[in-house]
Structure formats: structure tokens, C-alpha cells
Amino acid sequence: MPKLSHRVGGVMLCVLLGAIGGAVGQGLLSTIDSGILLGAGYGAAFALLAGPRATTPGAGLIWGLGFAFVLWLAVPVGLLSAASEGMQAMGMLDAARARFSHLIAYVLCFGAPLGIGLGTWGILRREEGHPRFSWPRALVVGGLAGVVGGWAFGKWMAQAGFFPLIAGLVGSQSRMVGVTLHFTFAIIIGASLGVLFQRDLRGYGSSMGWGMAYGILWWFVGPLTVMPIWAGQPLDWSWQRGAALFGSLVGHIVYGLIAGLIYAAFDRLWVGFFTESDPIHREPEGPGVSLLHSLKWGGLASIAGGLALNLVLIASGSMPSVLRAASGGAPVFGFAASFALSTVLGMSYGLLFHKEAPTFGAAVVWGLLFGLIRWYVDPLTLQPIVLRGTFDWSASAASVLLPSLVGQLLFGAVTAWSFLALERRHAAWLLLDPRVAAREARRRRPEGTPAPGLWVFALGTGVLLPILLG
């Protein structure tokens, strides 16, 4: 198919899908005016901007989600608020909360269908150099990752008494039925993660990012939309409903993080066993040496990041309770314990995100994502478990922890920047050899992947939702 006609076809498809999405959105939300027109315009803009980049359904979906989030901020929260309530209302908390339902509509009626549609259209025009796709690898590895992620999520669901609620979807009250349904969904979502994103998942850290974004999407799809419809209840997309389901949001995020991590681990094992172990594909430095370098640089990089984090934690009075308890309340010991923890976590940054950032700018954004992941995993999940043995994924708990979010973001950004500086310093030696330089370039994430879409959606929703719903 010629390039131009393919492009025009993509625009027409998106206009059509956008119009349908707009009609559906208008049907679901009375506050959306001129839905068909809005959707058609949205679809055309999305196709023109993201058309060349939406090369697979998964890539299209991530671009679509990022686009939906930005458009929600621009149109309902920004322009519509200003138009209806004056400039003073533009972007205000109340306006954003009042239009939380629009966020769900933008994601489900525009972002996801347009992204998947444009990506599916894009895959029809195969170009040379397209990574090969393996269905067995996607389904098996994704399914396994879904099981592990579902197990972690299931721990919270058991505590919150969610399983009978799930069982109610098939008219049962049995906990066992609920567990079975939960794992069935977990496997399906995990397998779809593999199918959609196999071509984009490279390292552990980026896979966790993809998993996080996918988990957030499923929070919009599952508890906020499908479950009430399935149960025959009226659809409630208010921010209060979102706040009530905040625990489920964190659960979906943790599920996505674990599923992404496990997917990457199995995938690396698969690729390592079948591809990288082949001497023909040998790298100048073996995987063991690369791993040690990553740990070393991550540890060193976290010195700067840890310093920034701890200064924020002390200044904001949000030193984690675990560390306060461990240090007996002495600030110096608390600082030292937190600093040591940051070093270990910095090493994990090296392990998770090496070879991901081609530039310092990209490194900073990956670092922010790392900091956000740490906020969800460490203070919001692990610390309550360590201190009290229970989950505390409530919106109020997240509100209390918001001050440390700034510190974690700063920690991630500084650590990532320093890590790339160390990585480049080492690579400068290797890159004197052009063959090594070519191999290195192949291993690093290229430009054109949907990583920027991921950053906007995961960072934007990951930071904004705890603020909005608390």
C-alpha cells in the first residue's frame, strides 16, 4: 500500500473510530457535548500526529493513552472549565475533580480504541526491520506474569474482602469462585500484555512502566466500568467513586508492575537462552560483567539521588516510620538508614533501567518513573506491611505520603542522570571501537518507541490521581 494512501486511510479510520467513541461517550456522559464532532476531530488529530509511530496495536495504545491524558487536561479541565466558569476555574482542583468522569471517557472512548485501531492499521504496513513477533512467547510468558501479578493483587483483595464481590459477577457468593475469576482475569490481562507490548518491552524497568500504565488502564476498564455494567448497576464515573476504589487502583498498579517485571524476567530468560547464548551474538562484555557494572553505577549514582531524597524527607518531616523506628528516633541514624536503603535501591535502578535512555533527557524521565514506582511500592505498600502486617492502600494514606512523592521523584531523576553519566564514561572506552559502538547502539532503546506516551500517561495519572482522589 503506498505511504500516502495508508496515511489517509489511517486518518479516516481514526475519524470514524473517534466519532463512534464520541457518540458512546456522549451516551454515557451527558456532560459531553457534540461528542461525534469532538471524537472525529480528536481522531483526525491523533492519526496525523501519532500515525507514523503507531506501528503496532500496543504502541498505538500507549500513544493513545498519553494523548487522551493530555487532551483531558487541555480540553475538559482547561478550556471547558475556563469557558463555563471563567479563567479562574481553569485547572482548579474542583474543576479537575468534577471532570474526572471525562478522563475515564477520554481514555476508554478515545485513547484506547483509537490507539489500538491506528496501531492495527499500522501493522498492516510492515516495514523492514520490524521486530519479529512470537505468539507462544507472548501468551505463555504474559500468562505466567499475570499469575504472579494476580497473586500479589489477590493478597490485598483477600484483605479487602473483594473476592465475593468478584464472584457476584457470575451470581455466586463463593470465595473460591471469586479467586478463580480473579486469576482468570489476571492471566488474560497478562497474556494480552505480552501480545500487545512484546515488541516494545526491552528491559525490566521499562516493562514495569508498561505494566503500570496497562494496570491503570485496566482500573478504568474493570472496577470503574465493566464491573458495574456487568452487575447491572448504574455507571458511576465520579471522583468520589474513584476515591472509594483507590485501593483497587494501587492494586492494579502493583499488579502491572509485577506482571511487567516477571514478563521481562521470563522474556530475558527466553531471549537469553535461545538468542543471546548463541556465540554468534556474543557481546564484548558478558551478561555477568554488564550486571556488575549496572549494580556498581546504580549504587554510585544513588549517592547524589539519596542525598536529595533524604534532604526532602527531613525537610518535609516525612522520614519513613520504618527508618525512624530502626534508628530509635535519632535523625542522624534515620538519615544514614535511609541513605543506605537509597543506595540499594539505586543499584536496583541500574539493574532495571540500564540501556534504556539514549539521552540525558530520557534518562531523567525514566528516573522519574522509577521514583514514582518506588513511591507506590515502598512507602505505600511495603512499609505498612512491614510495620503493621496489612495493606493500607487508602486514598487518605496516599495523601499522608504525598510529601515524600516529591523526594522520590527527585531521587529517581538525579540517580538516573548520574547513572547515565557513569554508563557513558565507561562506554566512551568501548566506543573507540566502531564495531562495539554499532552493537551498543543496537542494544539501546531507539527513538520512535512509544516511551514518551508511556511517560505522560504513567507519570501523569500516577502523580495526579493520588492528589485528585485523596
Binding site: W63, V70, L73, M90, A428, W429
Partner: protein
């Protein structure tokens, strides 16, 4: 004169320097930031200040980020994502701090700043789109951004290192570290072998405890930017400043800095017969030959009916009671006595490991108490000692000691002397009694600027203690580091560093789970001495740590672990006849396999090279 696009384009291409590139990007970012600042003005509500802020951020974004043509969605999303940290940094922290308040990072504060968050994300999205559009327009108008001019190839300063032992490889590694990716320096290392041999574990190879390649680290994988050439050096021309490597065709290497780390070779003290009938113990090949010679002797002895002849085959003599000789004798003793289990026709009495040493005690490097302990333990395990003796002559089937005593045997390993590399004799350097090149305290050779020496081939005096440094691996490593630092100083107008090193001590394995240790107490001149299992464990730990390369460490550790469960390997791996064949006696009916071989004829008892 009118300004046209081609005129501008030509001017632009001519000014493709870094400042103009930065200026172009900054201009693009400035326009993008100016357009996008509308979002900040609407949400930050700080008057016109957000415009200046937007322009500043825009300039930074333009300079730091650059996307390929028409990458609108990439640029838009990336900049939008960067809006979140900008919100945290500027709105949450910077604005309140500048106005004398605490950062607004409480939940309530952050909620109050939601409009700023919206504003920053939208600012980013517009900035990305606008910058990309301006960038594409500028590219259409002025042409693509000129590629940075490739840096001219700098004048190369050539450092040539001769020798791939501890000193040579350490010098190269340290030079790589010091010069980093500096393209003005070219480092070349010439070595007879392509691997660095970890000599402290050589006795374990001869004793079949370790696989030969596991103690050799390939130099090419250890060094990243050094050119490695394998081959012997045939000549060094100091006046023309070049080295010739004896390859086919010969390679001439010009140098600005020359490092001599050629090491030493076996010195047979002028005993020609001994040189002809002995095995050396300095290289991996020699260690493998010793191992194969032992296995070969056992195979022959197993089918030998004459008891005298059998004892002759199973007598292994080691000349020299220093570290190398003692460790080798201990390893051979363990190996050979363990092999008896696989050869039912052989008895313990048939086997003899004899150590000949001219001094009145072995291990002169250690204290008399430890030397006595080593002798006692080794004797208890079956090693025979001839102290106050030296091997004076050798003939087929027998070795003659200085006292006239004759030891009937087939295998003699010589560890009784070494001398610096013979190439040094052809060079006009002052040399010490043992033939090593005399260097100054900075390891430079006096009178020859840019020529340095370290390791076994150099006579080095410690700059602080004024004591001569022994030719050991421990010193060679430190000498290599200092030498590299001094070359770096010489090439970067720095100050050279005098060489000083306090020896850490010495460790010597004398048999199964038995070793002697004499270690210096840190920061003092005192030494602690101990022996037995603890010393043995320390030996293994320290040398495993010192063994270069993680991969090699893992391999050696696996060999040691396997040895706990399985007997040592007695498969022969070299098919060529060992040199000891020459010293076999005349053919007899009882020992047909001992007949001398014609050149090129495969030895009947030697198996083919195993796959």
C-alpha cells in the same frame, strides 16, 4: 543587499561551530517556550513572569532535546512528561522558597497547586509541538542542522609495552584507566602469549587440580582500547625509537614511550646437559607438559615388569627449594600418590618425589620455623629432600648431584634459577648482578628518556626503604601501576611518583590442606606467621580474589569444588612427545616404548589430542 534563504543557508553552513548550533537550538526553544507560556500564564496567575519562565525552560528544552524531523508526537509527549518534574521543582519547591515560605509538598499544598500541574503539563505539550514545528520550519528554510565537525585526528602518542605478564598487563590496564577515551594516545602491548598467566596457581595445573586455561586470562578481553600483538620481539632500536615484532611479515612499531616488562626466563646456570634433559616451570605449556609427563610415566610404569625401571619411571625430581619448587613438589606428590589408586600394578614404594635444594633449608623467603614446618609436613606426606645439594649433571635415566650421588629417574623439573629476558642483553642499559635493567625510583631507565622498565626484568630499589624489590607478582602489579601513572604524568606534564611498596607477606601451599603464611600486620613492620589449614584457606581465598576476571574466579572455584567430589583428571591432553623422551635410555626388550623417536614420529604411548 537582500538577505535570501540561499545566502543565509551558505552563511549557516560556514558557521557550523558548536556555538551556532547551540544558538539555533536555543532560538527554536525560545519561540516554542514563548508560544507555550500561554498555558503557564493562564494557570500560574503570576502576571507576566510565567512568560520569562516559559522562555527560559523553552531554551533549555531546545538545547537539550532534539528529535528527528516531524517527530511531533514524540516531542509533545516528552515535553509534557517533563512538565511534571517542573511542577514539582518550580511550583512546589522553588516558588514558595523564593517567597520565604516552606515548600508546598503537603497534601493540601499539592492540591492547591493542581492548576500549576495542569499548566506545566499543557505548557510541555505545546512546547514540544511548537518546538518541533519551528525546528522543521527552520530546517526547511535554512537546511538541516550542520553535523558537528569531526574532530581532527590528533597526533598520536604511542606507548608500546613489551611483555604480557603481571607488570605489562597492569601497566596497560592502568594506562587505559588514566587516559580513558583520549584518542591522542595509542597503546600497544606485545606478548609472547595471548593470555596473562596467573603463576601462583601454576603448580595446581601441573598437579591436575586446575584446568590449564582457567588460570589464564585472555589479554584481549582484559584490555579495551589497547592493541594486542602476539609474537616475540626481535629487536628494539632505541635511537630510531621503534620495536620489531618477529611475525611474518615482521611488524615495526614506532614508539614515544617504551615499557619493558619482558619478565624472566629459566636459567640453567650453564649446565647444558641439564638444560637439555629438564622441564621448565614458568609457562602454562611447561606446567601442562609436567602433568602429562607424570601421567605418561605412570602409564609406562603400569606395564613395566622390571621393578628398578618402574621406580626410575616414577621418580620425579624437582630442582630448587624456593616457592615454585616447593609448591610444585607438594602438588606433584599429591597428584602422583592419588593416581596410584588407578594403577593397580604400582605400589607406594615405587613412587618418589625428590626435592633438591642447595641451601640448608627450603623456602629461604620464609622464617626458619615455617620452613621447618613445611619440610616436616612434606616429608610426612612422602616427599624426599636432598638439602645442601644441587643438580650438576643429567643424562638419560639419571641425574647427578654435586656430591656425585646419582638419582635414577626420568623426570626433572628445573626451578632453581631464572634470569631476565635475553633481549635485554642486546640493549645498552646498565644491568644488575642478576642481569636486570637498572631503573631510577620512578621506574625510568636513566639516560634513555621515555624508556621504562618494571617486573622481573627490572632492578628496582624501593624509594623509601632503599631495599631492592623482589621479582614477585605482588611487586610487579604495583610497579605496573606506578609506571603507568608516571607515563601519564610524563605525557601530561605532571610529576612522576617514586615507587614504594611494603610487601604484604608470603603464602606457600605445601600439600593437601596445608600451607605456610607469613603476613605483615597492616601499618607496622611486624609479621604474623601461621600454618596448616587456616593458612591454606587463606591462600585459596587471597589468590582467588587476586585472580584476574570474574569468569576465571568462577571457573577455578568450580574446579576446586569438583575436586571435593571427584578424583583429579588423569586424561592426557598433549599428543606431542615431552622433551624428557630424549633422556630415555637405550631401547630394551622390556621397555620397547622407550625407544627414541624419529623427528615427527608420534609417540606410541602418547594418546592423540583429546577433543
Amino acid at each position: 543587499m537582500s538577505i535570501t534563504a540561499p545566502t543565509l543557508r551558505a552563511a549557516w553552513t560556514a558557521a557550523s561551530s558548536r556555538p551556532s548550533r547551540v544558538l539555533r537550538r536555543a532560538g527554536i526553544g525560545l519561540v516554542g517556550g514563548l508560544l507555550a507560556s500561554a498555558a503557564l500564564v493562564a494557570t500560574l496567575r503570576l502576571g507576566a513572569a510565567p512568560v520569562a519562565l516559559g522562555v527560559l525552560v523553552g531554551i533549555g528544552y531546545g538545547v537539550w532535546f532534539r528529535f528527528p524531523r516531524r517527530a511531533y508526537v514524540d516531542s509533545m509527549m516528552t515535553a509534557a512528561a517533563l512538565g511534571i518534574p517542573l511542577w514539582a521543582l518550580v511550583s512546589v519547591v522553588l516558588f514558595p522558597v523564593l517567597s520565604g515560605q516552606r515548600p508546598m509538598w503537603t497534601a493540601a499544598g499539592m492540591r492547591a497547586l493542581v492548576p500549576h500541574l495542569v499548566g506545566w503539563v499543557l505548557f510541555g505539550a505545546v512546547l514540544g509541538l511548537a518546538s518541533q514545528a519551528v525546528s522543521d520550519a527552520v530546517e526547511r528554510w535554512l537546511g538541516p542542522e550542520p553535523a558537528p565537525p569531526s574532530a581532527p585526528e590528533p597526533h598520536k602518542r604511542r606507548i608500546v609495552i613489551l611483555g604480557g605478564g603481571f607488570a605489562g598487563v597492569t601497566t596497560a590496564e592502568q594506562l587505559e584507566r588514566l587516559f580513558g577515551a583520549d584518542r591522542s594516545v595509542a597503546i600497544t602491548l606485545v606478548s609472547d602469549t595471548n593470555a596473562l598467566l596467573f603463576t601462583p596457581m601454576l603448580a595446581e595445573v601441573a598437579g591436575s587440580s586446575l584446568e590449564p586455561t582457567h588460570i589464564s586470562s585472555p589479554i584481549r578481553t582484559s584490555l579495551r582500547r589497547t592493541q594486542v600483538l602476539r609474537g616475540p620481539v626481535s629487536s628494539v632500536d632505541l635511537s630510531a625509537r621503534r620495536v620489531v615484532v618477529a611475525s611474518v611479515p615482521p611488524i615495526t612499531l614506532p614508539f614515544d614511550q617504551l615499557v619493558l616488562t619482558l619478565g624472566s626466563v629459566t636459567n640453567h646456570l650453564g649446565l647444558e646437559n641439564v638444560a637439555r634433559h629438564t622441564l621448565g616451570f614458568k609457562t602454562l605449556r611447561e606446567a601442562m607438559r609436567i602433568r602429562n609427563q607424570v601421567i605418561d610415566s605412570f602409564e609406562r610404569a603400569e606395564i613395566e615388569s622390571d621393578p628398578e625401571r618402574r621406580r626410575e619411571l616414577l621418580t620425579f625430581v624437582v630442582a630448587g627449594g624456593g616457592f615454585a619448587g616447593v609448591e610444585l613438589a607438594g602438588a606433584l606428590n599429591d597428584f602422583a600418590r592419588g593416581m596410584l589408586a588407578d594403577y593397580p600394578a604400582l605400589q607406594t614404594d615405587d613412587l618418589a618425589i625428590v626435592l633438591v635444594h642447595p641451601g640448608d633449608r627450603i623456602l629461604p623467603e620464609l622464617s626458619p620455623q615455617l620452613a621447618a614446618y613445611a619440610l616436616e609436613r612434606m616429608a610426612a606426606r612422602g616427599v624426599t629432600f636432598r638439602l645442601g645439594e644441587r643438580v650438576a649433571d643429567a643424562r638419560p635415566g639419571a641425574f647427578v648431584l654435586k656430591s656425585g650421588e646419582e638419582i635414577r629417574g626420568q623426570t626433572l623439573v628445573w626451578t632453581a634459577g631464572s634470569t631476565p629476558h635475553p633481549l635485554l642483553t642486546a640493549l645498552p642499559f646498565e644491568r644488575s648482578k642478576r642481569g636486570a635493567v637498572v631503573v631510577d625510583e620512578h621506574l625510568a631507565i636513566p639516560g634513555h628518556p621515555g624508556v621504562w622498565a618494571a617486573g622481573d626484568c627490572a632492578a628496582i630499589v624501593d624509594a623509601r626503604s632503599k631495599e631492592p624489590c623482589p621479582p614477585t607478582a605482588q611487586f610487579a602489579l604495583r610497579e605496573g601501576r606506578t609506571l603507568a601513572e608516571n607515563i601519564h604524568a610524563a605525557l601530561s606534564s605532571g610529576r612522576p611518583k617514586p615507587f614504594h611498596f611494603d610487601a604484604l607477606g608470603a603464602l606457600c601451599v605445601v600439600g593437601h590442606h596445608t600451607a605456610c603464611a607469613e603476613l605483615r600486620v597492616p601499618f607496622t613492620r611486624r609479621h604474623v606467621r601461621f600454618s596448616g589449614l587456616l593458612a591454606w584457606m587463606m591462600w585459596r581465598f587471597i589468590y582467588l580474589v587476586k585472580l584476574p576476571g570474574l569468569e576465571r574466579k568462577v571457573r577455578v572455584l568450580s574446579d576446586w569444588t569438583l575436586e571435593l567430589f571427584f578424583p583429579r583428571d588423569i586424561a592426557q591432553t598433549i599428543s606431542e612427545p615431552a622433551p624428557a623422551v630424549e633422556m630415555r635410555g637405550p631401547p630394551t626388550a622390556a621397555a620397547p616404548s622407550c625407544s627414541p623417536l624419529a623427528p615427527g614420529q608420534p609417540h606410541p604411548a602418547a594418546p592423540a589430542l583429546l577433543p
